[in-house]
């Protein structure tokens, strides 16, 4: 343990040394980041992962590419978010689904179906269902259970992802937490604590899906992975994936909670 800490310190030291050098394309370790052996480290990192596409508020054009064994399709969408509680995502194309939109406001999730002109509230068992035909679930969108609340975590050096060394946060559900995963590994790059990957395990501790982050780019005050990909592992869906490709993203806009209303959902 002592050697690992020493190693950590060394790594951190070299990372801060790097900061003195001209930009290498990697962002720096944030100034307020706790050290990996600090009890607050995991929480800090998890918040950072959660907020990577969010900032205080955000607006983005996203292309969602879904590939399954049977079909492959692309949808383009426009998304707004404010803090953790509010987001609104609307389909721009294809034409047949244009206008279909999802609203998350506080603890509620609604989907507006443009074809039928109805809004439905997603709740209960349907939270685990696929969101807009992708490999994401409605629950992923809600992140109703914050990882830090429901899991115990430990920090250890993770695998190299894209040649970059990572920290792995190993999350194990608290005994009484109602969660779908048996374990979640969150990998963040050691250099800047940005997300590199996530691995989700089922109750038998078999990895069942993974999320990867690519194409980091500096947008305003944030470093953002412009592409993320969710792939189911093992079983029938092996080889399928959903990719979210951020075209344009801007942060810290002037958005009010009142923007995220049912009437906005239906009239966008």
């Amino acid at each position: 343990m002592i050697t690992r800490r020493a190693l950590t310190r060394g790594l951190l030291a070299s990372a801060s040394l790097l900061a003195l050098w001209p930009r290498t394309g990697h962002a720096d370790l944030p100034a307020d980041a706790p050290a990996p052996d600090d009890p607050g480290f995991a929480e800090y990192v998890l918040d950072r992962v959660d907020d990577v596409h969010r900032g205080r508020s955000s607006h983005a054009i996203v292309t969602m590419h879904v590939k399954t064994k049977r079909w492959e399709r692309e949808m383009s969408m426009e998304a707004w978010s404010l803090g953790k509680e509010y987001s609104l995502i609307r389909i721009l194309a294809p034409k047949k689904e244009r206008g279909t939109a999802t609203l998350k406001a506080d603890k509620d999730l609604y989907t507006y179906l443009s074809k039928t002109g109805r809004t439905i509230k997603i709740s209960g068992a349907s939270m685990g269902g696929s969101w807009m035909g992708s490999h994401f679930t409605n629950d992923d969108l809600m992140k109703s259970s914050r990882l830090a609340d429901d899991f115990n975590y430990s920090v250890r050096p993770g695998p190299k992802i894209d040649g970059v060394p990572t920290w792995a946060l190993v999350l194990v559900p608290k005994p009484k937490a109602v969660v779908v995963w048996g374990r979640v590994d969150v990998m963040v790059r050691q250099s800047d604590l940005l997300p590199a990957g996530q691995l989700f395990y089922d109750e038998d501790l078999k990895p069942v899906r993974k999320m990867e982050f690519f194409g980091f780019r500096r947008v305003g005050a944030y470093d953002v992975p412009m592409r993320m990909r969710m792939s189911p592992l093992g079983g029938e869906k092996e080889g399928e994936f959903t990719e979210m490709i951020y075209g344009d993203i801007e942060f810290d806009l002037d958005l009010e909670p009142s923007f995220f209303s049912l009437s906005r959902l239906e009239t966008l």
Binding site: R70, W71, K121, A125, S130
Partner: protein
């Protein structure tokens, strides 16, 4: 012989009270056996009929792999030839489309199981069209849907309301549509909570599924055994499609039925045993009370064979009268239990292992409901009377007179 018969008849009525007690005990026992047999048969047949008529049919065809892992894409590709061939063989056949999705009303949503049916053919294979709590069953020229009652309850929907369905089409598109609620079913079992019945056309349009079906429900031709009919139907199935009987499809219910049948038989044996002991007792009393009398017969030269014959004849007369009385008693009760039945709906909606039961318990009665218990009764009486009859036949006159 005729003398013996007349003698036996006189003997029977010599002690009227004793004979009346024996006869009524026997008649009552027969009545209980007949009524019990009818009720058990009705209970078992009713359970089976509910499973077959409302849910499974006698057999079903699926594409291989569908039952293990239901998928919109696992279809019987070309069911038409099979359907035509089976119908020619006297089967009744109804293809169905199956899919899952999300059903929503104003404030609520719930997971649903969609069943797309061929309205005309389906009417031939299931009785579900008659099981409506309110509203009307599907019609081929109407886009209304019919819901399970619990689903309707959970979503707060009534006939005339609107159900929004959200799913994923076969091409990956977001399948969504609004359907008027045309009817709500009574309890039919597993589909109460999730079932949404719609026409095949509506299903195909919603799910963008042009061809193939997921399930074919079969009713076998009358008079053919379940196994034989299943095997025959399987012979007509295209490659990659399997036909399974309801026993294979619902093994737990099939074994539950077998278990209840066995339990009923055990109960039956107990009832019959109890009856046997009552009769044995009556016979023993009837003979032993008359040991002196029979001893006199022996003393005046009656051979043992004639005494034996006499006792057997007396028993036969009593049993004959008892059978007539027992049957006369059973007929009205059976009539009421088949036509009116025993209404158990006060106990609530009865459902066992996902199968709804008719809350009215009806007997099932045919000739064997009577002949079975009667034959059993005669055998029991025969066995019960042998010992006292032999005892009477071979009693030593002196011993008998002295006692």
């Amino acid at each position: 012989m005729l003398d013996d018969l007349r003698f036996a008849w006189r003997n029977v009525w010599r002690n009227t009270r004793r004979s009346v007690v024996t006869i009524s005990a026997t008649a009552l026992a027969l009545f209980v056996m007949i009524a019990y047999t009818g009720m058990v048969n009705g209970y078992l047949a009713g359970m089976k009929a509910n499973i077959i008529d409302l849910d499974v049919g006698e057999a079903q065809a699926f594409a291989e792999g569908y039952r293990e892992k239901p998928s919109l894409y696992t279809v019987i590709e070309e069911p038409e030839a099979m359907v035509i061939a089976l119908e020619r063989e006297g089967f009744k056949v109804a293809p169905r489309l199956l899919g899952t999705g999300l059903g929503a009303a104003t404030d609520n949503s719930a997971g649903i199981q969609m069943i797309g049916i061929d309205v005309d053919r389906d009417r031939e294979v299931t009785k579900i069209a008659g099981e409506l709590k309110s509203g009307a069953w599907l019609s081929a020229d109407d886009d209304g849907v019919v819901l399970g009652w619990r689903l309707a309850d959970n979503l707060g929907l009534e006939v005339g309301g609107e159900l929004v369905v959200l799913s994923q089409g076969a091409d990956g598109s977001m399948a969504n549509e609004v359907y008027p609620v045309r009817g709500i079913l009574k309890g039919i079992g597993g589909l109460d909570r999730v079932g949404v019945f719609m026409t095949q056309d509506a299903f195909r349009e919603l799910m963008v599924l042009d061809r193939g079906v997921h399930q074919i429900i079969l009713r076998t031709p009358p008079g053919v055994s379940l196994d034989a009919a299943t095997a025959q139907a399987d012979g007509f199935a295209p490659d990659g499609t399997r036909v399974s009987s309801w026993r294979e499809l619902r093994p737990s219910i099939a074994s539950m039925l077998d278990a209840s049948e066995a339990a009923m038989q055990v109960m039956g044996v107990i009832v019959y045993l109890a009856v046997g002991i009552v009769i044995l007792n009556a016979m023993l009393m009837a003979v032993f009370e008359r040991v002196r009398e029979l001893g006199v017969l022996k003393a005046i030269g009656y051979p043992p064979g004639r005494v034996l014959l006499l006792v057997l004849l007396e028993t036969a007369i009593q049993t004959g009268v008892a059978i007539v009385l027992g049957v006369l008693l059973a007929i009205p009760v059976n009539y009421a239990m088949t036509h009116q039945g025993l209404d158990l709906s006060a106990l609530g909606n009865i459902s066992v292992m996902g199968v709804a039961f008719d809350p009215v318990w009806r007997s099932r009665v045919d000739l064997s409901t009577y002949t079975g218990p009667i034959i059993t009764l005669v055998v029991i009486v025969g066995l019960a009377v042998i010992y006292p009859a032999l005892k009477a036949a071979f009693v030593r006159p002196l011993d008998a007179l002295r006692s």
